[in-house]
Symmetry: C2
Subunit: 393 residues, 2 copies
């Protein structure tokens, strides 16, 4: 080869042989084209180099991803589709979630027709990504709700003062909402500064708990500039917040892992889908609902994963089947990574709760925001009605 | 209103009245549906609350985004389209890039048919986001190349040792490549650990520079876990790297802003598109090429923005017009935010350079990776040929 192209070394890599796998859906007019998409992804996601020039030793044999399986899949709205399973050397991802994301879909995110469906990681990788600190069981224990769905609502609209939001939190806690979270548009705006908001909302929820004997918690939104995010989450914990809301689309997936791993934070994390819709609006590329709002959120440390429920104002991109897939991704066996709560919101209304209860079963957090305001004049009473819908009196 | 719904306070917000604007492309079958998409986005991106319940004072008048303009646009592959300009109170974004991203497209990323085309920020916001530290002029000065395109190549394939990569960097610098960057798959894998790799590549490029009198630089990839990213970039600078490569899709946009703002980093930043393709593969949602690889990369501090050139292996999602739009986004007037270099790569080959030169003109960085290996056996000579193509002898 060295007579026509520059010499590329052929190192012996001493790899463990352990591999992780990712399943991709390939949408293409023909099987041959779908297979080509899979084979190109195997190269693109690893060596990103003309395969003919890659030496035949360990780089070609172990670093280049392998197409382990290839089979027809059910056709979708964009035409015929196939599924391919690719395997990767664990040492290529190393110990970093950023690089694992890169291997899942880095360059291939720019190739229409390739969608990451799901993945399977060996212990050699999950040991670096502990996932949710609490998971479903741990969050239930903290909230003192051993069974039945948990209830969540959001403090809004943007523009209210810290005290206005705290007053609203008080009513919600009085009405028995388990998790009262910030709207994800709340950060540190001057009309409701972070520290003041957290202090007032924590106090308001604690006051309501004293009156009801309940164990409601407040979760402030802690997504922030990179240099302030961890401090904001630690401050929330110090001020007595029962958890934090975080938007990995805005602040990064690995930064959520960092929050989950940090002992000075040490409280549950709920993830928000802001900016992440683009991974699935094409329908043929990016990430599946299952991978994005299920597996990936868990891997990055979310105890609960918020996404829009079917039938609401985001119905085009979230069908009932999509939501079922998310719930499956929140609980599918991932070894040491605990199950997270699917948390359907985004237009969920009181009248849709019974059907949603039937779909999701017990292990779900129902998130209703604006919909709690339209039933009647008494917010706490609307919340009690919400509790009644799932049989929690 | 309080007789049928809970009371929502109506605070006086004392806002400056300064607003920023974002232009959205709305793809829908009819004008009425497109207008509804725009009006829904105005609510969704701000108060995320039933508009009928939002009090009529400052929240309704100033916090809810305003649809300032609405007009037909050229139809696209997904049907008829319109363009709407929305304006937002600067105080709603506050001083945080994470929240600005949220206001641009947070929840609306989950609504197919709404794409952010471009944006315009007043000084009240750009003062918080200084953008590229060097920009086009500053990078040219550091490299000693006052005109004509700059040349870039990448060290790969993944699996080579630090010394192998350094040997390759030496050849490239000898051949006159201005910027020799890591492949974005290189992080801190044990076969080419970060510190060793940076030290060896910096040394190799310096040695070549001494022989040629050139001023080539090495840019290691510094995307890393959230708690190590800044340190890695600082270490790169300390070890003598001439810049860093960073992937905001993997590590977050605001973390790039942090790198650009950090005096202990203080070297140019090249952004990589890994994982970001999903923002544009739908063609009707997410972000435009102009906004994503032009304006947003600059706002977040990139001196050069890598993306796949038209005609290469990512041609489906990157047409010649898309690439022209990216170049425009890299240089369009953004007040105090300096212009960045469009850096087309991803399948750019030597034979396509002349056409690309015609499209982009002088102010561009041409990135050829694998394509430099297929011309002949001498890598340095292939690099010299690349220089010759743009008239730099």
């Amino acid at each position: 080869m060295s007579t026509t192209t520059p010499h590329i070394p052929d190192p012996v890599l001493d790899l463990s042989g352990e591999r992780f796998t990712a399943v991709y859906r390939l949408t293409a007019p023909t099987e041959a084209e779908a297979r080509e998409l899979a084979e190109n992804a195997a190269v693109e996601q690893t060596v990103e180099f003309p395969l003919a020039l890659v030496p035949r030793g360990d780089i070609r044999q172990q670093i280049v991803a392998r197409v382990e399986a290839f089979a027809p899949a059910a056709p979708g709205p964009h035409g015929p589709a196939w599924e391919a399973t690719l395997s990767f050397a664990v040492e290529a991802a190393g110990t970093e979630l950023t690089q694992l994301l890169n291997m899942f879909l880095g360059n291939t995110s720019m190739t229409p027709g390739v969608r990451l469906e799901r993945f399977d990681l060996p212990r050699a990788l999950t040991k670096h990504f502990p996932g949710p600190r609490f998971g479903q069981a741990g969050l239930r224990e903290r909230l003192g709700v051993p069974d039945k769905p948990l209830l969540c609502s959001a403090l809004k609209p943007l523009g209210l003062s810290a005290q206005d939001l705290a007053d609203m939190a008080y009513e919600m806690a009085l009405g028995g909402i388990d998790i009262i979270k910030d709207d994800h548009g709340l950060t540190d705006q001057r009309f409701a500064p972070f520290s003041e908001r957290v202090a007032r909302c924590v106090e308001a929820v604690a006051r309501a708990n004293r009156e009801t004997g309940g164990r409601s918690i407040y979760m402030p939104h802690v997504t922030a500039p990179a240099d302030r995010q961890l401090d904001r989450a630690r401050e929330a914990a110090r001020l007595g917040a029962g958890g934090v809301l975080y938007s990995p689309g805005l602040g990064g997936f690995d930064a959520m892992r960092q929050l989950a791993a940090d002992d000075a934070v040490g409280i549950p994390i709920m993830s928000h889908p802001a900016l992440l819709g683009s991974f699935l609006t094409s329908g043929h590329s990016g990430l599946s609902h299952h991978a994005l709002f299920g597996q990936l959120m868990r891997l990055a440390g979310a105890d609960a994963s918020v996404y829009p429920n079917y039938g609401g104002r985001f119905a085009t991109a979230f069908t009932r089947d999509d939501c079922r897939d998310i719930a499956a991704g929140c609980t599918v066996d991932m070894g040491t990574v605990k199950p997270a709560f699917p948390t359907p919101g985004g237009g969920l209304t009181l009248d849709r709760v019974p059907d949603a209860y039937e779909l999701y079963g017990e292990d779900v957090i129902f998130l209703i925001g604006g919909g709690l305001f339209t039933r009647g004049p008494d917010l706490a009473d609307n919340c009690r009605y919400f509790r009644g819908l799932i049989g929690r009196e």
